[in-house]
């Protein structure tokens, strides 16, 4: 079997180390090595955003990152979004506004939306559409996802 690399990283705030081959993507490592299966595979070539995670705070497609690249970096995934069992306002809004149907793209949309609201707490509809253009959804037509992001933004600004 091929050479394994020992990688030390931080995932959702916790120190993690794992062994992987250089050819394994971050997506494969998250799902098949660490069993963090909330990050979904939709296309495996950077065109759907279902595997969106953040790497040192920057949105990336986990399918287009090698597992070995995250050494010494900080990764956040959908699993890190709810804190101590409390849902993030975006998660609540996606539920309330029916911002999901089948749910396969939902983790990617949530991770992208959170990054958006961290950068632009009160985004315009155009800004939301621009930030979410890298995430494909085939069920909803996007309307209710955008409504959910707007709702979460309002609540977060109001501090409720």
């Amino acid at each position: 079997m091929s050479e394994m690399v020992h990688v030390k990283t931080t995932i959702n705030g916790a120190a993690v180390d794992f062994l992987c081959e250089p050819r394994q993507s971050l997506l494969e490592v998250l799902r098949d090595v660490l069993y963090l299966t909330g990050t979904k595979e939709g296309c495996n070539d950077g065109n759907c955003g279902s595997c969106t995670v953040t790497l040192d705070g920057v949105l990336v497609n986990a399918c287009c990152v090698l597992g070995v690249e995250v050494a010494g970096k900080a990764v956040t995934t959908i699993e890190g979004m709810a804190k101590n069992g409390n849902l993030h306002p975006l998660q609540v809004a996606f539920l309330e506004e029916t911002g999901l149907q089948c749910g396969i793209c939902t983790p990617g949309f949530l991770v992208s939306s959170r990054a958006l609201l961290e950068r632009h707490p009160a985004p315009s509809e155009a800004q939301i559409r621009h930030w979410l253009a890298g995430n494909l959804c085939r069920c909803t037509g996007y309307d209710r996802i955008i409504l959910a992001v707007q709702k979460a933004s309002k609540r977060m600004l109001a501090g409720t």
């Binding site: 091929s2 050479e3 690399v5 081959e21 250089p22 050819r23 993507s25 495996n44 070539d45 950077g46 065109n47 955003g49 969106t52 790497l55 920057v58 949105l59 990336v60 497609n61 399918c63 287009c64 990152v65 090698l66 070995v68 690249e69 992208s112 990054a115 621009h130 930030w131 253009a133 890298g134 995430n135």
Partner: protein, 291 residues
């Protein structure tokens, strides 16, 4: 995916000596948005992948009165989120903010977009009209090459096996100058250009005449094309729709597109004319002129 070794040199010297010593195929990894996908489909099968992101020189983003230096590994998003760069080089931002979705922009590097040498690469026409120089180094020395001479064909570039694209050097914008990049895609984003175009202009002090211009077009030939004749046709001419139209016509003539799944020859020729016109309009506006 095939098996390969992975290395992360910490200095440019270490990186260059790896390149000098390696006998089997090597690929450099910056953003990986092209490379990792190409390795997954088996299109490329390097024995060694060298991650260049630890090398300081490749990560610099330096704006000064001498112009802009962009390390080859700097991501599109790093460039367009830098307000100073965005103000000084809006045409670069036009292109950098259109590549893929936001997840791709966070990883895809300026150098990678250039080295990948896709005929439809969005950054290359913008870099060409901004007179960017590619700073190239190997273990024996360095050289500079205008970006318009960097791509040699679809997917091929002017780098020798032991050479590294270190950075891109952009001169400072002249007085009364402006540049703009436009592309055409069926979807509004997440798409590959059917055709694209960039234009840079320097206007006379009164904004009425073109002092000089540069026009580049993409996805209409094996490499992005600097259309010298179109630029020359503008020199000294009044800033007018007619002048712009003449330049756009010349650019259309210079395009040598193919039919493929993303567009037809006739459509691409038409798009070159439209996009050059629109890029020139944008450039003139940014230069403080008006049509």
């Amino acid at each position: 995916m095939h098996q390969f070794k992975y290395a992360t040199p910490g200095s440019i010297e270490a990186l260059l000596s790896m390149l000098a010593e390696q006998r089997s195929p090597v690929k450099l990894l910056a953003g990986g948005t092209d490379l990792i996908v190409q390795m997954r489909t088996g299109a490329v099968t390097p024995a060694l992948v060298i991650d260049v992101k630890q090398v300081v020189e490749l990560n610099q983003l330096l704006l000064s009165d001498k112009g802009l230096i962009i390390g080859a590994a700097v991501s599109c998003r790093t460039v367009y989120e830098n307000n100073h760069v965005a103000r000084a080089y809006p045409a670069l931002i036009d292109a950098a903010s259109l590549i893929g979705g936001i997840q791709i922009q966070g990883r895809a590097s300026i150098g990678g977009n250039l080295c990948n040498a896709s005929p439809s690469a969005d950054l290359i026409p913008a870099l060409i009209v901004l007179e960017a120089l590619a700073v190239i180094q190997n273990s024996r020395g360095s050289r500079e090459l205008p970006v318009e001479d960097f791509c040699t064909g679809p997917g091929t570039n002017a780098l020798a096996g032991d050479e590294l694209l270190v950075s891109l050097k952009l001169p400072p914008g002249a007085k009364n100058s402006g540049a703009c990049f436009r592309r055409f895609t069926p979807r509004n984003e997440m798409d590959i250009a059917v055709a694209n175009a960039a234009a840079a202009v320097v206007l006379s002090a009164d904004g009425k005449h073109f002092t000089s211009a540069r026009i580049a077009i993409g996805a209409v030939g094996p490499t992005p094309i600097l259309v010298q004749e179109a630029a020359e046709a503008l020199q000294g001419k009044p800033v007018s729709g007619a002048s712009v139209g003449i330049a756009a016509d010349i650019a259309r003539q210079a395009a040598s597109p193919i039919n493929d799944m993303r567009g037809t020859i006739a459509q691409r020729k038409q798009l070159v004319q439209v996009l050059v016109t629109r890029a020139l309009q944008g450039a003139i506006e940014r230069a403080g002129g008006a049509l």
